[in-house]
């Protein structure tokens, strides 16, 4: 039995004539300790998929199984890192993490919780900023707080919804390494949603493309057989990397082209000639 299982998921929004089917026939199995990346275009329904897995929304049909149990509502076992950080702007960095651990470990004393907060903030190298508010931090720092908050609850699985999407390339690279570092310590199961194929290949064990919505569905999976820890510069010369990368990009491009040709409709222009004004008034 897989750790996380999605069986025949369909998700539609709206009712009656306004129904739009966002996800259609999604099947996915993730094993314990695996790092899976789902790659897709913007607007292909990635966030909907993430919200189904973390329990914020329920599928229209089909079921999400987590450790054999049907997912109903959110759980501390599945930590979420949102695309837009979603930190509470009125709380400091420390307080943001504190709110999370307080809910996750209600039995711990205040002092233990504060130690926990300090530990995780140290882990993402933000100790000097612990009393700052999110507004005073850069995008990369904010996302690190978000990472600390998700991990501090000690989830069994981390779900990342385009966590680095809004960051510049340099910060992005650094944070990728940081997340991988943290992940490799206790090998939690991880699901990464991204629109960057390179990021997927660098970080994940397995990449699954999401065919663009409406009626988005998962494409064939690509296994990444590159040994960890991976090195970014070496990766560029790795034939395995190049092949996988080209295969995925080709696959995504093909779907894109397919869609474009589908969308292209031939418009038949009416056979019109300008009126003969001059003769009309004779």
């Amino acid at each position: 039995m897989a750790y996380l299982e999605l069986n025949n998921i369909n998700k539609t929004y709206g009712t009656g004539d306004n129904t739009s089917e966002v996800l259609s026939n999604i099947n996915l199995k993730i094993e314990e300790g695996e790092f899976v990346a789902i790659v897709g275009f913007t607007g292909s329904g990635k966030t909907t998929l993430v919200n189904l897995i973390n329990g914020l929304i329920t599928p229209t049909s089909g079921e999400v199984l987590f450790k054999g149990q049907k997912v109903e509502g959110t759980s501390h076992d599945r930590g979420v890192i949102f695309q837009n950080y979603s930190l509470l702007p009125w709380l400091t960095v420390g307080q943001n993490v504190y709110v999370a651990v307080k809910e996750a470990f209600p039995k711990k004393s205040k002092k233990e919780l504060q130690e926990l907060v300090a530990e995780y903030i140290e882990m993402v190298n933000l100790t000097p900023a612990i009393n700052k508010r999110p507004k005073e931090l850069s995008g990369g720092m904010r996302q690190r707080v978000s990472v600390a908050r998700a991990l501090a609850m000690d989830p069994e699985m981390i779900i990342m919804d385009e966590p680095l999407g809004a960051l510049d390339a340099l910060t992005r690279g650094n944070l990728q390494d940081e997340i991988l570092n943290i992940w490799s310590r206790n090998k939690r199961t991880a699901l990464l949603i991204t629109n960057d194929v390179d990021e997927g290949i660098y970080m994940a064990d397995r990449i699954i493309p999401l065919r663009p919505g409406p009626k988005a569905t998962l494409g064939p999976e690509f296994k990444i057989d590159i040994e960890r820890p991976r090195d970014k510069t070496e990766l560029n010369d790795n034939t395995n990397f190049k092949e996988t990368r080209n295969a995925i990009i080709e696959y995504l491009m093909d779907i894109g082209n397919e869609r474009k040709s589908e969308e292209r409709e031939a418009f038949v222009l009416p056979d019109l000639a300008p009126k003969d004004f001059v003769n009309q008034f004779k």
Binding site: L56, S86, A104
Partner: protein, 368 residues
Amino acid sequence: MSQSLTLNKISKFMGLGFISTLKDLFTGKLEKQDYAKFLRKFIVPIVSIFLFIGIWHMGAKALYNIEAEFKIEKALNEQGQAAADALKACIASGDISCQPNTLPSPAQVWDSYKSLLNDHRIISADKAAFKEKTAALNEKRIADGKDPIVYTGRPSFVDQIFRSLKTVFAGFFLAFLIAVPLGIFIGLSPTLKSAFNWFIQIFKPVSPVVWYLLVFMIVKTLLIDSSEDSSFTISFISVGLCSMWATLVNTAMGVSTVDKDYINVAKVLKLGPFQKVFKVVLPSSLPLIFTGLKITLSVAWMVLIAIELLAQSPGLGLFVWEEFQNGANDSNAKIIVAMFVIGIIGFLLDRLMLFIQNTVSFDKTDAI
């Protein structure tokens, strides 16, 4: 340098930015390019104030002439030429007994203001003397278990201002206590929202006078055994009920429109209902709640005058009404003094709310 910075900060914080500009002028720190700003921020308002007073003065003079001519004409028609001439001479001499009663000029209002302050000084002195005189007696009365003798003379204008402020703050506090919790519940629960919606829609537009009558009906019966003066109770409850709607509607709206991202965070972290309200919902709706409270305070101050007048509760409203009924020759000027005092206090109350909002709100730029 640091002192100027603090003054800068404080004046900006309270929305009184012109103070720091003024200070810069006197300390010679004003740069050349700042002069345009200084002109706009300081000179223009002063010029417009003088313009306002000038127009007022001329308007008052015109009205005075119309009234005087009318009076003389009336005397001529009813009593003949001799009476008309006598009246004309009387008006020209400035005798109080025959002055036309119309919009007072700025100078008259200023005189009334000074006479009101003087009156306050006299009454305060009287009060102090009374207290001194009765101190020994009151001590004895308290020791005997009797009620002490209190001053029962008429209140001065300044006393009435404080009484009005007391009423308005009691009313505002009542509105706050009712509207904020109720607004939170309504915002959180769609069921409660549909239960209360008709109630809000119907009672929101009800006039202060009707609120006063309603409160009067209820409080009169509830305090039927009490010999105490219920006018204060009635007026502050009416003020509260009149003014709470803005806060109620804004709070409900703020609470029900919290950013979906924050709600998702609350769900993912599995915050309990208490934590969710205090850590997520309330902080995020604070700017809207404060906008509501600001409107509530200004509405409270506005309806207070009407309600004090009806409730015969001592205060600025009653002052205005009594002066109007009184019809002495400086009554109109006193009413205008009260008008300015009401306006200025209203402005200061608004600044006070802005100050509190800036202190408690997380995002200083959100203040409206």
